[in-house]
Symmetry: C2
Subunit: 422 residues, 2 copies
């Protein structure tokens, strides 16, 4: 029998509400006997939830691998990871297993595994920073953990208490931080990549019945200061990145693979990334896989820092984006107005033509705060002023504040210190 | 230096044109010293192309695994594959390696593998049919191979000559067909799943520098005759499957994972699949992961078989869809008009209200030709007539013709006979 007269609300919103409601203890991450280990079922469950306190440790022989210098580590075609990784398995009928911290190595997946066919995958990216004061810090890892829960649920993978993921990230850095990001390298970072994938070996378009959460730590090249600034090419008219009613706000694999073709074509033309416009109006959304900011003067003369809003769910709620917005509101009040609103490429072009365009930058974990120097839109080239050829004034200022928090020059609640095992 | 005055054409179309142009011998699949093993670079290449004639064979012990009956094989949560699979690796600098036919088993992927993070993956689905005449047939495998090339290039994976993939599929069935789809089981099928994934162990949003093509053969449950017919729920307003400028026409993982949330919510309400509508007009596009057809009478009284068109690249160019269109045009001429055009859910509802709706079915490899009995759109329920409670008249007729070709009751060029190793 079919249900009669169901509510007419949106299925996806409804599903997300169900799933978020059934997550245990989102605020404090404490798991207990009533936590839900099954993010794919409706209602509550007594299956084991993700629980960092159950983590087992199998140590790698620390003498087996030497730590390369940063340049060497980033020179090849393979990401160099640290000695260990964390894995946690989940099954529909039994919930989350005990997390394992163990030697870094390959995963074994059946050729029928869900993730290999249906893109049942999501990830996060954050960095661990070796401070000038010797401490090892993460930058707002709670935001990454919460966003990963949202992405995980959006792609029909199992839910968890975000605080448990945060604890696992800290645990991996506590073990691998001292060797791989030694105190002798202040101002350096490692890149952390938590991910969840659907692993059940069953073909057919369906929500995964088995999943794997894993966390790696690795070297990643510095991309925040390309010579001459980042050069953007607006997206081709036959290719848009995300759409209202889609999943542009979630950090799921499905947002990335399909963008590569246009990005590579732009690179062949000498540009670094695509500036993704949306709709016939040409709203500015993201720069590559980063958030996008401009500083301009309005026609009335007001100085504004402008970026796309989150409310239509087209763009990622970036941790760097959010931090830029919050810092600028706090520290540039009276000097510069921070505006989150829809704005079009035509507005940017007009500001450029009228000499009102002041600065532009991309913001994200991988590219950090990266000055944008050039935007090609159809046959028009926007050339953006760079102070001393490398950055705009406000771009540099904000980047400096963020850097100080990350590397401990400024003690700030956003910098979460890792309790390292020494 | 940036290129000056570049053409203003679309980057994605341009990229696809480049890539398709550089594929060797699309027509005959013959590889030679000048084939291009590198679908990600511009221009031609002398790297080895995909070459089925180089295939090596490592046989599994055929006594190790017994062949289950169909019901048992499909009862569990794991897809049961045959004794062997085919794998072929590709690297940016060295092209395609020699294909390997070898025992079915797990793949080893580094946690940093591209496919696990960026959805650099695409696949195909087709079946092998054990005929009532004893022969083993594939159904139009050339169409699957060509579509896989298109999907592969769209997701920035390496290209190949489609005929070589077709040969590999035939080779796998030649070895595993006699045991796993024996002549004692006429009217049965196995499901073939070719896929290509990005395997390079390097984080960062970029086109894969290493890839793996693999082909498995497995049992898959029959889904073409759910009791009472397939029940569809139109998509929620906050969730659309594909969009113009997207990749709905390509069989890439990114089309599937994001659809699961709404599909599961619909299932919780008693419906089998989502009828995906597009745009404010509510154009009918796909039913779940299948193409969607209706038979109706126009207001003027003409009988029409209607399905969405391919030209806006929203929907998959289904092999079953194409075959239905071609057979109906050939064999129902004068009786029924075949129309590929945009049509809206409002037109379907209006036809239902006016008693002009005759039949509806979903068409695809997994669901074959599956009668649709019910469509819920907001607060309206479309009830579709079923002859004898199981199917419409034309639905049954077309399904019968297709079945006859697949299982050799009718000798037809679409049925490609496998030269089995007995």
């Amino acid at each position: 029998m079919l249900p009669q007269n169901p509510p007419v609300e949106d299925l996806t919103s409804t599903a997300m509400e169900h799933k978020i409601a059934e997550q245990p203890a989102l605020a404090n991450g404490k798991t207990n006997g009533h936590t839900n280990g099954n993010g794919n079922a409706n209602g509550t469950s007594t299956l084991p939830g993700l629980d960092a306190s159950k983590m087992t440790i199998t140590r790698a022989d620390p003498t087996l691998r030497a730590v390369p210098d940063e340049d060497t580590a980033c020179a090849g075609n393979e990401t160099i990871c640290t000695d260990h990784m964390i894995t946690v398995t989940w099954k529909l009928g039994s919930g989350w297993s005990a997390p394992e911290l163990k030697p870094y190595g390959p995963l074994s997946l059946m050729p029928t595994a869900s993730v290999l066919h249906y893109a049942t995958e999501c990830f996060e990216g954050l960095k661990a920073y070796r401070g000038h004061d010797g401490a090892l810090r993460l930058f707002r890892p709670d935001l990454n953990a919460k966003r990963m829960l949202m992405s995980t649920l959006r792609i029909s993978l199992p839910g968890f208490a975000p605080a448990e993921v945060e604890k696992l990230i800290l645990a991996l850095m506590a073990v691998d931080g001292p060797k791989w990001l030694p105190a002798s390298r202040p101002g350096s970072y490692l890149y952390l990549r938590p991910a969840v994938i659907g692993t059940n070996p069953q073909l057919g378009v369906q929500a995964p019945k088995e999943a794997l959460l894993f966390i790696t730590a690795s070297f990643m090249p510095r991309m925040d200061a390309p010579p001459g600034g980042m050069k953007l090419h607006t997206n081709p008219e036959d290719m848009i990145r995300a759409w209202v009613g889609g999943f542009g706000y979630a950090k799921v694999g499905a947002n990335y693979g399909p963008s590569l073709l246009a990005t590579n074509e732009a690179r062949d033309r000498g540009f670094g990334q695509i500036l993704w416009l949306y709709g016939p109006e040409g709203y500015c959304t993201e720069a590559g896989a980063s958030n996008f900011f401009v500083v301009w003067r309005t026609k009335e003369g007001a100085l504004q820092l402008v970026t796309a809003p989150l409310d239509d769910k087209l763009i990622l709620d970036g941790v760097t984006r959010r931090s830029v917005v919050e810092l600028a509101k706090e520290r540039l009040a009276g000097e510069l107005e921070v505006v989150e609103r829809k704005y079009t490429i035509d507005e940017v072009v007009e500001a450029d033509k009228e000499g009102r365009l002041v600065e532009s930058f991309a913001a994200g974990t991988a590219f950090f705060i990266c000055p944008v120097s050039h935007i090609r839109h159809r046959d028009y080239d926007v050339q953006i002023p760079m102070v001393k050829g490398e950055s705009g004034h406000y771009t540099a200022k904000i980047k400096g504040w963020m850097t100080d928090i990350m590397y401990g020059n400024e003690q700030h609640p956003w910098g979460v210190v890792v309790d390292e095992q020494k």
